[in-house]
């Protein structure tokens, strides 16, 4: 690997990668190991609050992410795999940075001073740095011309206070291209998957998912790849189209391009079985 430097991150997996999307978590670790990147899981981390807490309960929503900030040891960045967890952690950090009373409360709650310099990043920021360094050129066997629709969902949209944070639109396509895949242009890369509506109003979420899946079929995508574990699940569970386009986590494609993935059990966990496609493309045995 071109990146010889050993990098270390505090790592926040979040509830989805810990449970429903274990294949996302494991492929992410595998990929990072190959690039000499050590992920140190935040000890005893808690849920960032998810969409539900800020919907109905202001105070826990405000303070849940702060406990994770307090658990992060100084001196290394905190990386979140899930775009929504990242946003909750980063927002909490921004609020604390701006408000002295909140910093006092933080100290009272967690018995330590707030670290204004703690760097909080998404997995995509790390990917962007690796792409800059040309780290993907060495991935063998690559993705062998697979036609991929890259799906960002609402990862690209953020509240106005975060407008000036880095945005990673196009990064998946860029990486896919260097991995020898064919990233496709399509109309639904930023269309929201419906998040919790997939559980509480499946009729509404299914319409959104149908549009997204049909959009991928229109451009003859062999698969969709998502930036977020929840999007991945929603596209799988609420798809009602007869044609079943497999949906990957981005970390799975990264591992596959290194020739890793067959026999790991990741793809058995998918509700839309991607193995026929992977076998046809000779990406797994």
């Amino acid at each position: 690997m071109p990146d010889k430097k050993f990098l270390e991150f505090s790592y926040f997996p979040g509830c989805s990668l810990e449970t429903t999307a274990k294949e996302n978590n494991r492929s992410l670790y595998t990929f990072c190991e190959r690039h000499n990147i050590a992920l140190k899981e935040l000890d005893d981390w808690n849920c960032c609050g998810s969409s539900s807490t800020h919907s109905i309960d202001h105070d826990p929503a405000k303070w849940l992410p702060t406990r994770n900030l307090a658990l992060a040891p100084p001196g290394r960045p905190l990386m979140a795999a899930c775009p929504n967890c990242y946003m909750r952690l980063k927002l909490a950090h921004m609020i604390l940075n701006q408000n002295g009373d909140d910093r006092e409360e933080y100290k009272r709650l967690w018995g330590r001073d707030f670290d204004p310099d703690l760097r909080i990043i998404t997995f995509f920021e790390l990917l962007s740095d690796l792409a800059e360094a040309g780290a993907f050129e060495t991935h063998k066997p690559g993705l062998k011309g697979m036609r991929v629709a890259a799906y960002y969902g609402c990862m690209l949209a953020r509240p106005p206070v975060m407008r000036h944070e880095r945005n990673f639109y196009g990064l998946m396509e860029k990486v896919l291209l260097s991995l020898g895949a064919e990233p496709l242009k399509w109309g639904y890369s930023a269309r929201c998957c419906g998040t919790f509506l997939a559980a509480s109003r499946p009729d509404i979420a299914a319409r959104s998912v149908a549009d997204i899946m049909a959009g991928a079929e229109q451009v003859r995508a062999e698969c969709i790849v998502t930036a977020c574990a929840m999007c991945q699940m929603n596209l799988e569970i609420r798809s009602r189209l007869p044609g079943k386009t497999p949906v990957f986590h981005f970390s799975e494609l990264l591992a596959l391009s290194l020739g890793i993935g067959g026999g790991k059990g990741w793809f058995r966990r998918h509700l839309i079985d991607p193995r026929p496609l992977l076998r046809a493309r000779k990406l797994i045995g």
Binding site: T19, C47, G49, A157, F196, A199, S200, R201, I204, H270
Partner: protein, 200 residues
């Protein structure tokens, strides 16, 4: 959103806002809770144009803002829109005035709950409650239990039964929760809120 048959998919959108029951303090209250100044909005409707779920709402996002601007409290608090909005921020990204719509929707939902307004989407509210309860119990979300309790809450125990089975077969749903060890840390965040609301 006019379909080829000439029908408006949005259906029952009101032609005008009933101004009979306005509460001037309402605008200030929502501004305070959300940290947004809703009067910055000039009703350009960019938010509603881009909203992926507008067609399922009774009022469009810009109309919700209008209700808040005018202080039409009951209509805003009892609308389905405040529950259907998932806070995806698609609208805020395009808003020329950088209005944080998700924060306004949060403020409206929370006000609807504290003031006992009619909840237009009880299913969505029930689901949020189960997620928050799960975090309160374990510090993390336990999806299987959330879905089971949610189904019980809405008296529909077999909803998504086949999907649930498939997810269990695929080991997507863990039987046991992943838990935080130091749970008092989590519980105090929920107690904190109760203490504050009793004092207030």
């Amino acid at each position: 959103m006019v379909e080829s048959d000439g029908k408006n998919r949005l259906g029952a959108l009101p032609d005008c806002i009933e101004m009979t029951e306005t509460e001037p303090g309402f605008t200030t209250e929502i501004n305070r809770r959300s940290g947004v100044n809703v009067d910055l909005c000039w009703q350009c409707k960019t938010c509603s144009g881009g909203c992926p779920f507008a067609e399922s709402m009774d009022y469009h996002p810009n109309q919700i803002i209008r209700l808040v601007q005018l202080g039409v409290k009951n209509a805003a608090l009892s609308s389905s829109s405040i529950w259907i909005c998932v806070g995806c921020h698609t609208c805020s990204t395009a808003c020329p005035q950088a209005i944080d719509m998700a924060a306004v929707m949060d403020a409206l939902r929370q006000t609807a709950i504290t003031e006992g307004a009619a909840i237009a989407e009880p299913h969505i509210h029930d689901f949020h409650k189960e997620v928050v309860n799960s975090i309160h119990r374990y510090g993390r979300t336990h999806k299987l239990e959330i879905m089971l309790r949610y189904n019980l809450a809405r008296r529909n125990p077999f909803a998504d039964f086949n999907l649930g089975l498939r997810m269990l077969q695929k080991r997507k749903l863990d039987l046991l929760p992943s838990k935080v060890r130091r749970m008092p840390d989590i519980r105090k965040l929920f107690k904190k809120k109760k203490a504050a609301s009793h004092a207030g």
